[in-house]
Amino acid sequence: MFGTTEMQINMGPQHPSTHGVLRLELKLDGERIVDTRPVIGYLHRGCEKLGEDRTYAQAIVYTDRMDYCAAFAENLVYAEAVERLLGVEVPPRAQYMRVVLAELQRIASHLIWLGTHAMDIGALTVFVYGMREREFILDLFESYCGARLTYNAVRVGGMPEEFPEGWVEEARRFCDVLPSRLDEYHQLLTANRIWLARTRGVGTIDGKTALDWGMTGPCLRGSGVAYDVRKAIPYEAYADLDFDVPIGEAGDTYDRYLCRMEEIRQSRRIVLQALDKLPGGEIRGKVPRRIKPPKGEVYHVNEGPRGELGVYLVSDGSEHAYRCRFRSPNFVNLQALPDMVRGHLVADVVAVIGTLDIVLGCVDR
């Protein structure tokens, strides 16, 4: 009569801190996690199927909708993949512009991660501060391409438009403000004993296991594996730019936190360098109006804010991709969640989801 049983509890798809429509079936022993089963697919919109139906230029619009917190990175990886299929060179100015925008996007994405992660752990204010800085970047994007979230700011072969007047100065101004704001976040969180207690030793995963799960991005680097596509297989103008890739040691939530915070600084460094080096010239390569790549296939990756973003395109020589596959880092990273939270408490699930930095639009595509 007084036996104990494990409790099954459903976390999500409507839950304040599952970052969207993730559902977790938790098996609890008291508050301790025995087993977790992530259930995804609530936001599945068939981006891959749409990518097979729309032309190459149109499909970029759909990449916006996958990872809506880092739409530019998705735009970029798709455009680059098509460029590789076509064998088109992108003019250097466009390459530098892409780097600037991609790194601004990374900062924006990390800021939203910081805010939501901190809010999951209970620090309400950091969220608003992060949003405040992100707003700067959204303004920059609005001023560049006219949209604040779903940019469609890359064209196959180059960029759609020049930077508007005063844009570079505005971006520099943002870079000037950013470090002092970062210091504030550090003051609020980094040394705070509650933050340390909640993040240290939580969701630990070692580098080997992380690789085994296919994790990439800050989640992998937090575990001490120095794999960053920007360094490993440089694309665009990254080879000419000087930046560090921060890596952690312990592979816990705190290390991933520090990694991302440092990445914001490094991204700022890249933006400033790229703005200094910004060459003149064309911004569109020679791309036919109707894009018809030759038969073949390409798997192209770049380093998105959440990890390795991949696009696999199979071309049959027509205007549409024959197969369009998006490799989303969130989908892969989320797989490791059951491993990372086993034996922890319910509150840690929230912290680990936050540290994985998932965007369900990208998980479900």
Binding site: I9, P16, E31, G122, L124, I194, L345, D348
Partner: protein, 362 residues
């Protein structure tokens, strides 16, 4: 009207009515204050639409909550479910029976009216007893909801509130020893006659005691960084997930009333209750303790309200400030903090205080 009736029925009932009405008003504006302070700390503006600068926002919210459809889910344990909000709000209100809000007195007919409902000689014990009843409401709510998140919330809060009773009590013990009485009025009077608040008591200032009391108080009232029973990021809304409308409003009110209670107690126990802030200058004491000398005792009472209110406000501000700043502890860490840090600290604090009293007596 006979004097007995006046003394034992009319005046107490009037006092109770005034206290409850004032409490509700304070709570309503405390909620607004919380939203405003949080908003300002988050470089926002907070509610601005209802009334001037949102002054009527919470009034509107309360009206909404009280007129909303009152849903009782089908799967709940009905009796306990309905009882839980009552059980949680009654002790919260009853605790105010012994709080001395101010000094001074005035006469209504032949009856002297003081600024407290009653002065019980075991006031502190009464408070400790009655506030620990609140946990029953939480547990009942969590259990009777017959739902998983509320149950986790109820269990958490049972553990949390029971553990933090102990350091709370320990930090009060030293005050008891200093004052030599458990009457709250007596405690304030002891500080008055000592000429300084217990916070600055020589040779051993009660700073550690204040810290222990305040942090335990925050934990008792389930506020951030210790708001685990209702941690909305983990347990959706904790023990009151299934509650809505008026019943939810009761939980809400009880939480804020408890906050005010902790504020009042910190003011009484450590900051000398209604005593004026004199910055240690004895000359200031006389003019600051009565702004309205022409009204006599009533003037002293009004002045006392001011000082008392100021102290309570500062404590509540700290509450809200912490909420805007800190992340939330985890359940096991909270327990560890309570049992492994606060209870030993509290015991040590009592010992040191006892030693200090011996030293002082010589």
């Amino acid at each position: 009207m006979s004097e007995t009736l006046l003394r034992f029925v009319v005046v107490p009932v009037a006092q109770i009515a005034v206290v409850i009405a004032a409490l509700l008003l304070i709570v309503v504006y405390l909620v607004l204050l919380e939203r405003k302070i949080n908003a300002f700390m988050q470089v926002r503006l907070g509610p601005r639409r209802v009334g001037w600068h949102g002054l009527l926002q919470t009034v509107a919210d309360v009206i909404k909550l009280f007129t909303k459809e009152d849903i009782t889910p089908r799967h709940v344990d009905r009796l306990v479910f309905l009882l839980a909000p009552v059980v949680i709000i009654l002790p919260a209100l009853a605790a105010f029976a012994v709080i001395p809000f101010s000094g001074g007195s005035f006469r209504v007919g032949s009856v002297g009216v003081r600024a407290w409902i009653s002065d019980v000689n075991v006031g502190l014990l009464y408070l400790l007893a009655i506030t620990s009843l609140g946990v029953f409401g939480v547990v009942m709510a969590g259990w009777s909801s017959n739902s998983k998140y509320p149950m986790l919330g109820g269990l958490r809060s049972a553990a949390q509130m029971v553990s933090y009773e102990v350091p709370l009590g320990l930090s009060v013990v030293s005050i008891l020893m200093l004052a030599g009485t458990a009457s709250l009025v007596g405690i304030v009077q002891a500080q008055e006659s000592a000429g300084r608040w217990f916070l600055f008591w020589t040779p051993y200032p009660q700073i550690l005691g204040l810290f222990l009391y305040f942090v335990s108080g925050v934990a008792e009232t389930n506020r951030l960084p210790f708001d685990l029973p209702e941690a909305e990021n983990e347990l959706v809304a904790g023990f009151h997930t299934e509650y809505s409308g008026m019943k939810f409003a009761f939980f809400f009110l009880a939480e804020y009333i408890n906050m005010v209670l902790v504020g009042c107690l910190v003011a009484v126990l450590f900051f000398g209750g209604w005593l004026p802030v004199t910055f240690g200058i004895p000359g200031l004491r006389e003019p600051l303790s009565n702004f309205f000398p022409f009204w006599g005792g009533a003037g002293a009472m009004l002045t006392g309200f001011f000082w008392f209110g100021l102290k309570v406000f500062l404590v509540l501000f700290l509450y809200l400030w912490m909420r805007a700043t800190y992340p939330r502890y985890r359940y096991d860490q909270l327990m560890r903090l309570g049992w492994k840090v606060f209870i030993p600290l509290g015991l040590g604090h009592v010992m040191v205080t006892a030693l200090a009293i011996l030293v002082r007596r010589g």
